[in-house]
């Protein structure tokens, strides 16, 4: 350990720890650890430890000893926080006529959860976990791997909760069609299932390619909203199992899509479906790898915006609709912004793996300005659409979701470099898309109900 590193490490000891523990090997080869008081002298690179009384517990002079400083703060009924420790190795020599022991550290290992959050600390241990389980497999002759119950494994592998990104645009397309007089509930269900399958296939394929590219391994700060499912990285499922799962759900989705095309409007639905499948697959798959080129947001905008809304509309109404296209734009922008914000904590891992997302390419001010600009455009589209009558007037209620964008802006501004503090920000951004989409759908439902109940509804209900 360099003198500068020793000074830095020793500087904060007295303020952060109440005592030291000296650990050494006794005459019988057993470790023996004894607590004692201490005073750090950072400028000299030493720690003065109070001598320990008793021959049986006296630390040795000469051999390497381990001096540990450890602290936690109990939180009754909850657990504890403020976990931190510093572990130093070095030699002791007696000073002050044997009343003290001068410890000169040569090596250090430390962790403070306020500097490296527990989740990141754990994530850095994944290679060790694999080494241990691989060795255990060799020793026992059976495959030792981590496991989860099938339900939780499926939920984690497919990232099922993100299905709101599919439910909103398909629900919107169906709502537009319903207002236009086209409504078939069984077609609506099949469209939702097909869209969900393609979305889940995309999620699983995304993990396959992120594992293959090294992006998952390079990312040590994943959160529940970013960094992928990590089921391959953790050894919960193999690459092959994930490939089969991806192909399976894609096949179901495409099969239903093809059936809908045959039953309703073949070429329009085939073309929309093909565009969606193309975007979905090449989102992370080579050679295009759209997300690696900073085109992920455009892909997501198209796939979870116009493609899904127009597809759902086409299945119901068997025709194209400019209104459905217009309605898809704000939800497409907002879902693209979900990806855009979720890429922020993944920047270091993505950059290391050559995944040049917008968050990797742009500076913090540019990313935040981009967010504000895109949110503004999304809600201006809602406002102008509702006022002009392109969208039904009741859809103006979607503006009620605007306040959800403010904490996202503030969170990006204040916690841009803190992946775990960005978690509530990412959650709020997902809520922004979901709330806006659901309010747009509600606006359509209001217009639809008003049209049924009132012969000539007032303009604000049309």
């Amino acid at each position: 350990m360099s003198a500068a590193a020793a000074t830095r490490m020793l500087d904060g000891l007295e303020g952060q720890y109440t005592h030291a523990v000296i650990a050494f090997l006794d005459d019988e080869g057993y470790p023996l650890s004894v607590a004692t008081g201490f005073r750090a002298e950072p400028e000299r690179g030493v720690v003065l430890l109070d001598a320990v009384a008793g021959k049986a517990v006296g630390p040795p002079i000469g051999p390497e000893v381990n001096v540990v400083f450890s602290h936690i703060r109990p939180q009754p009924g909850v657990g504890y926080d403020e976990r931190r420790y510093v572990s130093l190795w070095g030699q002791l020599r007696p000073v002050d006529d044997g009343r003290r022991l001068e410890f000169t550290p040569a090596r250090v290992q430390h962790w403070d959860e306020q500097e490296v959050p527990f989740f990141e600390f754990s994530e850095r241990g994944v290679p060790q976990a694999h080494r241990y389980m691989d060795q255990l497999s060799r020793e026992t002759g059976r495959r030792v791997k981590p496991s989860l119950s099938p339900f939780w494994l499926f939920l984690r592998a497919t990232r099922l909760p993100f299905l709101s990104a599919t439910i909103v645009p398909i629900g919107l397309g169906i709502s537009v069609a319903a207002l236009h007089g086209a409504w078939h509930w069984w077609l609506a269900v099949l469209t939702l299932v097909a869209g969900a399958c393609v979305h889940l296939g995309l999620n699983v394929a995304n993990d396959v390619f992120d594992t293959a590219s090294g992006a998952d391994a390079a990312n040590v700060t994943p959160t529940q909203f970013s960094g992928g499912s990590r089921v391959i990285h953790y050894g919960l499922l193999t690459m092959r199992q994930m490939q089969l799962m991806s192909l399976g759900v894609y096949a179901v989705g495409l099969g239903i899509g093809l059936s809908l095309a045959i039953a309703r409007a073949f070429w329009p639905i085939v073309i929309i479906g093909a565009v969606g499948a193309f975007i979905s697959y090449f989102y992370t798959a080579p050679p295009l790898r759209l997300v690696h080129r900073g085109l992920g947001e455009i892909a997501v905008f198209l796939g979870f915006g116009p493609v899904m809304v127009l597809g759902a509309y086409e299945v119901q109404a068997r025709t194209f609709s400019w209104e459905a296209l217009f309605a898809s734009l704000p939800v497409g922008i907002l879902i693209a912004l979900v990806l855009y914000v979720n890429e922020v904590p993944d920047r270091p891992g993505d950059a290391a793996a050559g995944k040049r997302t917008l968050a990797v390419r742009l500076s913090k001010p540019a990313v935040i300005a981009g967010y504000v600009g895109a949110v503004t455009v999304a809600f201006l589209l809602v406002l102008s659409g509702a006022l002009s009558g392109v969208l039904p007037r009741p859809t103006i209620i979607a503006l009620a979701a605007v306040p959800l964008a403010l904490p996202v802006y503030r969170g990006l501004r204040d916690h841009y470099e803190s992946p775990y503090q960005l978690m509530p920000v990412m959650a709020r951004n997902i809520q922004l898309h979901l709330a806006t989409g659901m309010l747009l759908i509600l606006g359509y439902v209001i217009a639809l109900v008003a049209g049924h109940l009132i012969t000539n509804p007032p303009v604000f209900l049309r």
């Binding site: 050494f24 057993y30 470790p31 650890s33 004894v34 109070d50 009384a53 517990v57 976990a129 255990l136």
Partner: protein, 162 residues
């Protein structure tokens, strides 16, 4: 009444953290803060596979030492300090559920929030793949008022747990 003197048992049952010292592959002591769980005969600790170097070290050399030293992590009426030397074995025959069957009831008593965290297993699957460290005490040192500038009382326990 277990194999350890009562004042040390009380410490073990109250401590939220203890320092476990093992011997690494180069024969050097390495210390890890862990939660100690005592069943009256053996001291149990668990380690996630994420931080499993200590398990490897114990398998190679079972000699360990455990100290309870932190006043803020031990809630007893009159603070004291103790160190226990012993022989450890690692039970990693069922990383997924073995520790739940053998150790979770003891853990739950000391840290009720463990059930909440275990409910979030899907978020941290590797953290809950855990090996069990079982320590058979052979010698214990007790500093009655926590001051180690006075010699400890030494208890020879070899054979007590057998």
């Amino acid at each position: 009444m277990g194999v350890l003197p009562e004042p040390i048992e009380e410490l073990l049952n109250a401590a939220l953290v203890a320092e476990l010292t093992v011997i690494d592959d180069r024969g050097r002591p390495v210390t890890h803060p862990l939660i100690p769980l005592y069943d009256g005969e053996k001291i149990h600790m668990t380690s996630s596979v994420l931080f499993s170097r200590k398990l490897e070290h114990i398998k190679a050399n079972p000699k360990v030492s455990l100290s309870i030293s932190d006043p803020s992590a031990v809630s007893v009426e009159r603070f004291r300090r103790a160190t226990i030397q012993g022989d450890a074995v690692v039970d990693d025959s069922d990383l997924h559920s073995g520790w739940e069957r053998k150790v979770l009831p003891l853990w739950r008593v000391k840290e009720p929030a463990i059930d909440f965290f275990l409910g979030k297993r899907v978020a941290l699957p590797l953290f809950f793949e855990r090996g069990i460290i079982e320590i058979t005490p052979r010698r214990a040192f007790l500093w009655h008022d926590g001051r180690t500038e006075v010699p400890p009382t030494v208890y020879e326990l070899a054979g007590a747990a057998r």
